[in-house]
């Protein structure tokens, strides 16, 4: 078109190139900045905060909810949500723990069958995936809101957990090494849960950004009807992301029972909101179509760093609640401001 228009175009495109190549999204930057600022400030206030061991500590704490958060990210990008993950963590944790040699419980219902650790883990993951699959099927078949569907399964699965365990904890006597490794071990000095988390992030990032199924996930969240009319398998993709999330929640449950050396009925309670907080702080839009796995990685670390700092400074429970809430509000506000600036 006209030469002025072309000029305009160059002006706009020039600064974008560098960032575009790094594939950095503006949404990530806002939360990334929050994280960096937090680390700098906290490091200045308390040198203990900056130690490597403290960093590993934070990573270890966020790893479990982080694994759920990255799976949740994909679900949210499709325009959905999953409130049932906390219950899935509990049920899979209990089922897997009960199948591992050495586990004991006072409840008769708990399985007397014992399997080798890898097999028990597989069964556990399958249970998690199955819950996710059921979520996906309910949502795609009945077309009811994911919020309500997964609220239903959240309550239902909680019931299964109570029935299965009879309300008794499952403990180990002793815990097999293979199982202990999952939650308490380390690889090259890095705690195993952190390794799992890193792998989950890498795989899901690749899947969402580099594979056609990831593209479909974004398209479905951005415009489900257009995605369908482009031949994408909307329902199947949705079922896939819920199943994947169920599986990841199951993995989190397994790691948690290993770390806690027992399974009980309260583990996992409230994880859904912690994971969703991380995703949202990381800049993923709850309306679907926009967001990123890396953003959620940053998001869960923001939450973890704050919690860690509050612990280091000895803040009381009440202050922890207030501060965590305020930081969540602050982070999403900054993100909101960043997005608004970009639009106008």
């Amino acid at each position: 078109m006209s030469s002025t228009a072309q000029l305009d175009r160059q002006v706009v495109e020039a600064p974008k190139r560098g960032l575009a190549r790094l594939n950095i999204q503006l949404e990530n930057i806002a939360s990334g900045i929050v994280l960096v600022l937090l680390v700098i400030v906290l490091g200045a206030v308390s040198p203990a905060f900056l130690s490597f061991s403290n960093f590993l500590d934070i990573a270890r704490v966020v790893a479990i909810t982080g694994i759920i958060a990255v799976g949740m990210t994909l679900v949210i990008i499709t325009g959905g949500i999953d409130l049932s993950v906390g219950s899935t963590v509990g049920l899979v944790g209990a089922v897997t723990a009960s199948l591992v040699a050495g586990s004991v419980s006072d409840n008769a219902l708990v399985s007397g069958v014992k399997l080798p650790v890898p097999l028990a883990v597989l069964v556990g993951l399958a249970v998690g995936a199955l819950i996710g699959l059921i979520n996906g099927l309910i949502i795609t078949r009945t077309k009811i809101e994911p919020f309500m569907a997964t609220l239903g399964t959240m309550i239902f699965v909680k019931g299964l957990l109570y029935l299965y365990t009879g309300g008794y904890p499952i403990t180990f006597d002793p815990m097999p090494h293979g199982y202990a490794f999952l939650g308490q071990g380390a690889m090259f000095g890095v705690p195993t849960p952190v390794v799992f988390f890193a792998v989950a992030v890498a795989v899901l990032w690749w899947l969402s950004r580099r594979m056609s199924v990831g593209r479909a996930i974004y398209a479905i969240g951005g415009n489900p009807e257009a995605a369908r009319l482009s031949g994408l398998k909307v329902d199947r993709t949705k079922v896939f992301v819920y199943t994947l999330l169920g599986l990841l929640a199951g993995l989190a449950g397994i790691i948690l029972t290993s770390r806690q050396a027992s399974a009980d009925t309260v583990i996992g309670t409230g994880f859904e909101l912690i994971a969703i907080s991380g995703v949202v702080i990381g800049g993923t839009s709850l309306t679907g179509g926009r967001g990123s796995v890396i953003g959620s990685l940053i998001g869960v670390f923001i939450v973890g760093v704050i919690q860690n700092a509050l612990n280091l400074f000895g803040a009381s429970t009440q202050i922890q609640y207030v501060v965590t809430g305020l930081v969540l509000l602050l982070a999403i506000s900054l993100d909101g401001i960043a997005r608004r600036r970009r639009r106008t």
């Binding site: 203990a48 403290n54 500590d57 270890r60 704490v61 006072d106 109570y162 365990t165 009879g166 309300g167 008794y168 904890p169 403990t171 006597d173 308490q184 770390r259 806690q260 050396a261 027992s262 009980d264 009925t265 309260v266 583990i267 309670t269 860690n308 612990n311 280091l312 400074f313 000895g314 009381s316 429970t317």
Partner: protein
Amino acid sequence: AVGACSSGSKSGSGSGDKIGWSVAYFDHPVYQLMMKGAKEEAAKLGVEVIFADGKNDPAVQTQQLNNFLAQKLDGIILTPAVSDPMIPAIKKVNQAKVPFAVVDRRMETKGSGIKWDFLVSWDMVKSGTVGGEQIVKALNGKGKIAVVEGTAGAGSTVDRGGAFYKVIAANPGIEVVYKADGNFTRSGGQQVTEAILQRFPKGQLDAIYYMADEMLFGGIQAIKNAGRRDDLKIVSCDGDKNALDMLRKGEIDYDGIFFPQDEGVIGTRLMTQLLKGEKPDFANQEHEGRKAALEEHEGMVWVKPDFFGVDPSNMNDPQFVGW
């Protein structure tokens, strides 16, 4: 003489009586065991006990007591998650003149005039006192400690805590540097312990006191993961077999034991006697040879099963294997 029954007992119909029991929550080994004891005793006595899961929410328990009244059950037992919020609901139970008892976590009337026919609750005060003494012994009277408390407002937390802190106060060498609510749960215990370990690096903390074994189970994992077992003394309470095994293996330093099923058995037995119109034999309650004391609390009957401190000197005693 100890306080009289607040309600006229029903005609001695005997068996077939129904007792409603609202339990603080089901998913805790203490309460599982307590319910087990109650069920067995009920079967023996030919009464029916209906348990309701209080879900750790006084609003839910209030609703349950009201439902028991609506169902016209013969007797009601309450194990309150927290005490004070249950006062209005108990008032209603009293108005309906239904035989009523409190088991495990004790209540206070707070001047409200509420009544219970009897209270069965093991010696929480003693457990706190013993715990405090164990800490003092473990630290030789000097050091910094953190306390993982039970659910705020639960009778057990208030009494055990009160007694514990009283002992600590009498030992000025010991300083409580941190306390937090672990809600009597495993994950609560683990979370609080993680926070404690982050807050107090090696050298800044000498012992942790857990107000219940469930919280210890969560916490011990955090301690092991952080590699901090060796620089910390660990004291807990309750008598879970796993905890006592840990004591025997040297993984913790002190524990104590009470027997939850005794509360279930005695509570059911006394209530049944009441419903049958018999005069309950408060003074001579025992289960499996363990005698319960009879005391008075706010002018009403308190049947009190005992608590025993466990340490390396008596941990191999067969009666302290744990439950």
